[in-house]
């Protein structure tokens, strides 16, 4: 097993270094994940293409764009969730540290223990208790030591700001929690496996404003622990939580493509592409 993170300079040229510094980001933060020319096609029809950017450790990277721009499709390519769809084809290169995600020798289950995922709608396992939900990923990965399970469950539930409200009813069913709590349990469930990257697919789209706010706060708090890539259709949310931002747009061939990628502050204040400007000003989408 390679070390969790390979430290490579994330910003090669002076211009991006200046941009990073201007945005208050560390220009030499470790790169956890790199995407190069990534494209996803279903049944020969391209859904998203030409995606190239680096994901920096300890940051929140958001994927924004109107619906149909391939944000979720791209996100699901990063932990090989398209594997189950026979007609799906992912091309280009995705690297997690030293690991080539799509190399034949890479095991998808092992990859997914390093790249966690939180979904649009809270999906705790309804037949399991809160505790069982929290340790489900660890058990899937062959961990049986009770001490480690307990420690990881507590740490993850604390990190997901759920510990205080559930510590006295760990054996209660997950369905007894509110929608927002269920989503935080799902975050805890993903965190317990201690992934290096956490993918979040519009995690607040099914939640009310108050629960949404708590999840957003959580995302910001969590970035010291895990690198986060979050898909959102809400630009305010992207501004509030993310350090860097990738803007995708559906091209004329109905395939999403990466229009612009950079520090969030810069992307929203002075984007280089006019289409980005149109989007952040709410002219379409």
């Amino acid at each position: 097993m390679t070390d969790a993170v390979t430290v490579t300079p994330g910003a090669e040229n002076a211009a991006t270094v200046r941009a990073d510094e201007a945005a208050g980001l560390n220009p030499v933060a470790a790169v956890v994940m790199t995407l190069a020319d990534v494209a996803v096609a279903f049944d020969g029809r391209t859904a998203v293409r030409d995606v190239t950017f680096d994901v920096h450790a300890g940051e929140v990277t958001s994927l924004i764009g109107p619906s149909g721009s391939g944000k979720t499709t791209l996100l699901r390519a990063l932990n090989r969730m398209h594997d189950t769809v026979r007609t799906a084809a992912v091309t280009g290169t995705v690297r997690l540290g030293d690991l080539d995600v799509y190399a034949p020798s890479t095991d998808p289950t092992l990859l997914r223990s390093r790249v966690g995922m939180v979904f649009q709608r809270p999906n705790p396992f309804p037949t399991m208790s809160i505790y069982e939900n929290a340790v489900a990923g660890l058990k899937f990965n062959g961990i049986r030591k009770k001490a480690l399970l307990d420690e990881a469950a507590e740490s993850a539930l604390v990190a997901a700001a759920l510990w205080d409200s559930v510590k006295d009813r760990m054996s209660a069913h997950a369905s007894t929690l509110s929608g927002g709590e269920q989503q935080r349990l799902c975050i805890a469930r993903a965190l317990a496996v201690e992934p290096e990257v956490l993918l979040m697919d519009e995690p607040t789209s099914a939640l009310d404003p108050i629960a949404t706010k708590r999840i957003e706060e959580l995302v910001v708090e969590l970035k010291d622990r895990v690198t986060i890539i979050i898909v959102t259709h809400n630009m305010q949310q992207a501004m509030r939580v993310s350090d860097r931002c990738a803007f995708l747009l559906m091209g004329e061939d109905k395939a999403g493509e990466l229009i612009e990628y950079g520090p969030t502050a810069q992307l929203f204040s002075e984007p280089t592409d006019p289409r980005t400007l149109d989007y952040v000003n709410g002219r379409f989408g």
């Binding site: 189950t84 709608r121 999906n123 396992f125 309804p126 037949t127 399991m128 993903a190």
Partner: protein, 311 residues
């Protein structure tokens, strides 16, 4: 809409017609129960109740022990269910999740259609085709491999408990698979993806998430299949050997309550006929007992995961 001169039922009349139909159905059900109880009563008034657990069936000497038939019914059902539960579940999982999408629905439809094949056809096939194979190949083989368990003592005859159980298994399998497949397939995809995203293997996804998520429906399928096995008459009567003794081995010929009734009905009069009616009543009670246990199981597991599906 209104055509003058035509007879028109007033609203109250419409309700009344429906209510009468409903009342007739209820009356029919009550009549069914009362008719059997009344006709079975002479058996209890002349023989008491101990004959139900008697071990000897010898009507010519006034011995009406029902135990061999009760045991036979339960044993045959047990053989069928023990085979049908794992094989039915595995088949349903394969049909719902493993078989390529293109042939999934046609294969499932085929299995569902087989549930409609009349049981007497299975019985005929079991008697003519399977019995010789069991006598010459399957039973000697099982005896040589598992003889040490004592379950396979005695001669290999083909007809008997084992063959009847296997025929029942083949017969209830389509029902079991069709319902199980449906309830497994409706487990939300987000549950499957949730497990996958945590690094679960395909089997872990199925066994730890999909099967528990469908357990209420699976219990229902199991109950229905068990009920069909308990009450099946002709398929069993053709292949069980119809011997009124308690089976000492799984290969032994035996008899079930339905096979007892159907084989003796024509020649019986008086007390013996009443005993056959009473045997039918005992079968009903066993069926209700099994059903109640299953309902209770469904209720107790469903209760603990009520409203569990995430919004």
């Amino acid at each position: 809409m209104r055509r003058p001169g035509r007879f028109r039922l007033p609203d109250s009349g419409y309700r009344a017609v429906l209510a009468v139909a409903a009342a007739v159905l209820a009356a029919l059900a009550v009549w069914f129960l009362i008719a059997i109880v009344v006709q079975a009563k002479p058996a209890f008034s002349t023989l008491g109740f101990s004959w139900i657990f008697g071990r000897v069936w010898d009507p010519s000497h006034g011995k009406y022990g029902l135990l061999p038939f009760i045991l036979g019914t339960l044993e045959v059902t047990a053989v069928a269910v023990v085979l049908a539960v794992p094989i039915g579940l595995g088949t349903a999982l394969a049909l719902a999740y493993l078989v390529p999408r293109r042939i999934r629905s046609s294969l499932s439809t085929t299995v569902e259609l087989l549930a409609a094949v009349p049981s007497v056809v299975y019985g005929l096939w079991g008697l003519v085709v399977l019995a010789p194979v069991f006598r010459d190949t399957v039973e000697p083989f099982l005896t040589s491999v598992l003889g040490w368990t004592g379950l396979f003592d005695g001669p290999s005859q083909g007809v008997g408990l084992l063959l009847a159980g296997v025929i029942l298994f083949v017969m209830i399998l389509p029902t079991m698979v069709a319902i199980s497949r449906d309830v497994l397939a409706v487990v939300p995809n987000e549950q499957v993806e949730g497990a996958m995203a945590l690094g679960a293997t395909r089997w872990q996804v199925l066994y730890k998430v999909v099967v528990p998520g469908a357990r209420t429906g699976l219990l229902g399928a199991f109950t229905l299949a068990t009920g069909r096995a308990l009450g099946e008459t002709v398929a069993v009567a053709l292949v069980i050997g119809n011997s009124p003794y308690i089976a000492h081995s799984i290969k032994s010929p035996a008899a079930t309550i339905p096979s007892l009734i159907v084989n003796n009905f024509g020649e019986s009069t008086g007390t013996e006929l009443a005993v056959l009616f009473a045997a039918g009543l005992v079968l009903l009670v066993i069926g209700i007992a099994v059903n109640s246990v299953a309902r209770w199981l469904v209720w107790s597991t469903a209760g603990s995961s009520a409203g569990a599906t995430s919004r």
